[in-house]
Amino acid sequence: MKMHILKLLVLLFMMAAFAACTFGERNVFGTWELQPDESTDLATWRYRTLTLDISQQGKQTVLIQKWRRGNEPFFTDSLAFVPDGDAIRIPITRQHWPDNWYMGVLAVPGSERTVTGEWQSEGQAFTVSSTQPVQTSQGEFNLKTTLDVSMDKKLDVLRISVQRETRPTPIELVFKRVSR
């Protein structure tokens, strides 16, 4: 009887270890592709697609948005943060404001985007906040944006909720993993 219990415990331990290893690999890092049909309409301008690379580079967690038109790279936008660290300042070099191509909003070259962030669940979910000046018809406006990034482990799906303090409703984006 004791032998049976022991075997059962070993088996349970092995299953738990296997699950732990599997879930350990299932983190947000990797390349993700936007699923437009499952996401809020992003108002992409003509045939553009979006992929997202999330990586850990030293202490920094880095998100790189890559907009493509067909097979051609078109625009790359990046965010980075150090959990519990100082805000990271990212220089703005182009006028494109990719968050919505239909609105009369421009980025301000020569300005900076200030980014902070923290993990809500290590490797699985984080929040990143940024502020950047944007050009509108009435002049510059300091725009604050928060991204809640979380992973649906079962489906290998990444969900991002984008909240801009100027927008009445959040933008919900769904990505599927392309590669780890």
Binding site: T40, F74, F75, M103, L106, S137, Q138
Partner: protein
């Protein structure tokens, strides 16, 4: 005395009615949606060429295009002609019947090679030169059955040749015999499909047809395009449209603008050889639905003011769709139709509700990009546009600039001060200007006349709730009040959809007619003056 005047007027109306009824029999024919080379294109191309030739004598042949045709007013215009011009049409059931009735008004036929699509484009040029119809090999027996003889045979001539070589051949053979005021770009769809709706007009005008690439990377075709454009007369027209396969709209219009030529799209523009000859009703004057009262000041409140403009030409959008008249709407007018197709233009003015306000477009007296027009030619270009506006009772002008679209994708709709100066100088009595296509970022106001760029592009596929959220967000990003939000509506959005989006906005928003919007913006311009700093 009054009785005499009345009698003269009655006589004039009777005389004009008599004149219509004395013209040759008019015919209509219905087209299906099949424009495949392997299917119905050869027959349709033949019929459209027949139309171009026979309408040279008088307006006789009008085609009813299918519902999915770019220009969706073809059937309503046909009804309008019958209702207001007492025109009577006989319907033709087949190509055979069309040739039976009308082939004797042509000089013969030109054979094109169904194995070389470009040969049809050349055949249209030849058809204009010879005043002949175009036929594929399979249609030769039909043409001959109706007494026609061959004028040209392009079969086999172009096998293995590039479009550049074919167009050079056509240039050598026909250029000197063609009209250098009306070039036709027979572009648009490619491959096994062609939709040559404008070919009748080109044949009627004896135009040269091409679809030579205007992409500088296509070195030879680009050189060819430059060669023929440079030989057009000043202020001339480039009808039709660029090839969707070879180049981009922005490349096409940039190149034509660099010669100060005016684009009149599209390749599908239908029945122009007919419409061109139908005059305005006696005594008719173009009269816009103005909302601004002369001498009155329009002081804005602490609100968000929205004005809507539908672009992309009057004839390919929401004009015939549900909801028109329910919302103040400005419509981009294709100004040259006032003389190219006067009754067709009148049709739109006659139908306009008090909420339909017309504006001049697009950048010049035709579709042009002002940054590409040589700066020494721009004053004349703008002045010519202003003359058209005055005839059409228009006092707002719209500008679109995409000279570097394919290089700067996303931010290229702006203008430098020196170009805007020309518009203000040459259009002294306008209420203001609208600018852009995508959202643009050029703003100024002079003497109460604002120059305002679009702050929002309402794409036809944009989710309605998100569109409403976009507009609310714009109002938060532009916190001063009044805020003037100029909204570009793509032509595929009908007004009911636009109304649903705008109805969901908070009370702070108010949709107003464009002319009142501009008057208020001129009173209190809360936008920041901004110009394109460099044209490079």
């Amino acid at each position: 005395m009054k009785k005499h005047i009345f009698s003269i007027m009655v006589l004039a109306v009777l005389a004009s009615t008599f004149a219509y009824t004395q013209t040759p029999q008019k015919y209509i024919m219905r087209f299906s949606s099949d424009w495949q080379i392997d299917n119905e294109l050869p027959e349709k191309a033949m019929l459209i060429s027949l139309q171009g030739v026979v309408n040279g004598e008088a307006p006789q042949l009008y085609f009813l295009y299918p519902d999915d045709w770019d220009f969706n007013f073809v059937e309503p215009l046909y009804d309008y002609y019958r209702d207001t011009r007492s025109m009577q049409f006989q319907e033709l059931a087949s190509a055979d019947e069309a040739l039976a009735k009308l082939a004797n008004k042509t000089n013969g036929y030109v054979v094109w090679d169904t194995n070389v699509r470009t040969s049809l484009i050349v055949a249209f040029t030849a058809a204009g030169v010879h005043q002949a119809i175009v036929v594929s090999e399979d249609l030769i027996p039909l043409a001959e059955q109706h007494g026609l003889s061959m004028k040209e045979d392009l079969r086999g001539l172009f096998a293995g040749k590039s479009d550049y070589e074919i167009y050079e051949w056509a240039y050598d053979k026909y250029w000197d015999q063609t009209n250098h005021e009306y070039l036709v770009y027979m572009g648009g769809e490619h491959g096994k499909v062609m939709k040559p709706g404008v070919a009748d007009w080109g044949i009627y005008k004896r135009s040269f047809f091409t679809d030579a690439s205007t992409d500088p990377a296509d070195t030879l075709e680009y050189q060819f395009a430059n060669k023929i454009l440079s030989q057009m007369k000043p202020n001339s027209f480039v009808f039709g449209w660029h090839s969707y396969k070879k180049d981009k709209e922005a490349q096409h219009v940039r190149l034509t603008s660099s010669y100060a030529l005016r684009v009149e799209g599209l390749h599908t523009l239908p029945n122009m050889s007919f419409n061109h000859q139908i005059p305005l009703a006696p005594g008719f004057k173009f009269s816009n639905k103005h909302n601004v009262e002369a001498g009155k000041r329009y002081i804005p409140k602490e609100k968000v003011y929205v004005a809507c403009i539908q672009t992309d030409c009057l004839g390919i959008g929401a004009w015939t769709k549900p909801g028109r008249g329910e919302l103040p709407y400005a419509w981009e007018v294709t100004m040259n139709w006032s003389w190219l197709a006067p009754a067709m233009m009148q049709y739109f003015y006659d139908q306009a509700t008090p909420n339909d306000y017309f504006i001049g477009s697009l950048s010049g007296p035709g579709y042009m990009y002002p940054r590409s027009v040589p700066i020494d030619k721009l004053p004349q270009v703008v002045s010519t546009a202003y003359e058209l506006m005055q005839n059409l009772d228009l006092n707002v002008f719209e500008i679109m600039e995409h000279s570097n679209y394919w290089e700067s994708d996303g931010v290229d709709d702006d203008l430098p001060k020196e170009i805007i100066d020309v518009y203000y100088q040459e259009m002294p009595d306008v209420l203001g200007f609208a600018n852009g296509y995508r959202p643009a970022h050029t703003f100024t106001s002079r003497d109460g006349k604002p120059f305002i760029s679009y702050d929002y592009y309402l794409g036809e596929k944009r989710d309605e709730k998100e569109a409403t959220a976009d507009l609310i967000e714009l109002s938060n990003l532009n916190p001063k009040r009044p805020y003037f939000l100029l909204l570009h509506v793509r032509q595929w959005s009908d007004i009911k959809r636009v109304k649903r989006i705008l109805d969901a906005l908070p009370d702070e928003f108010e949709v107003v007619p464009l002319d009142i919007f501009l008057k208020m913006a001129g009173e209190q311009p809360t936008f920041q003056e901004r110009y394109l700093e460099s044209m490079n």
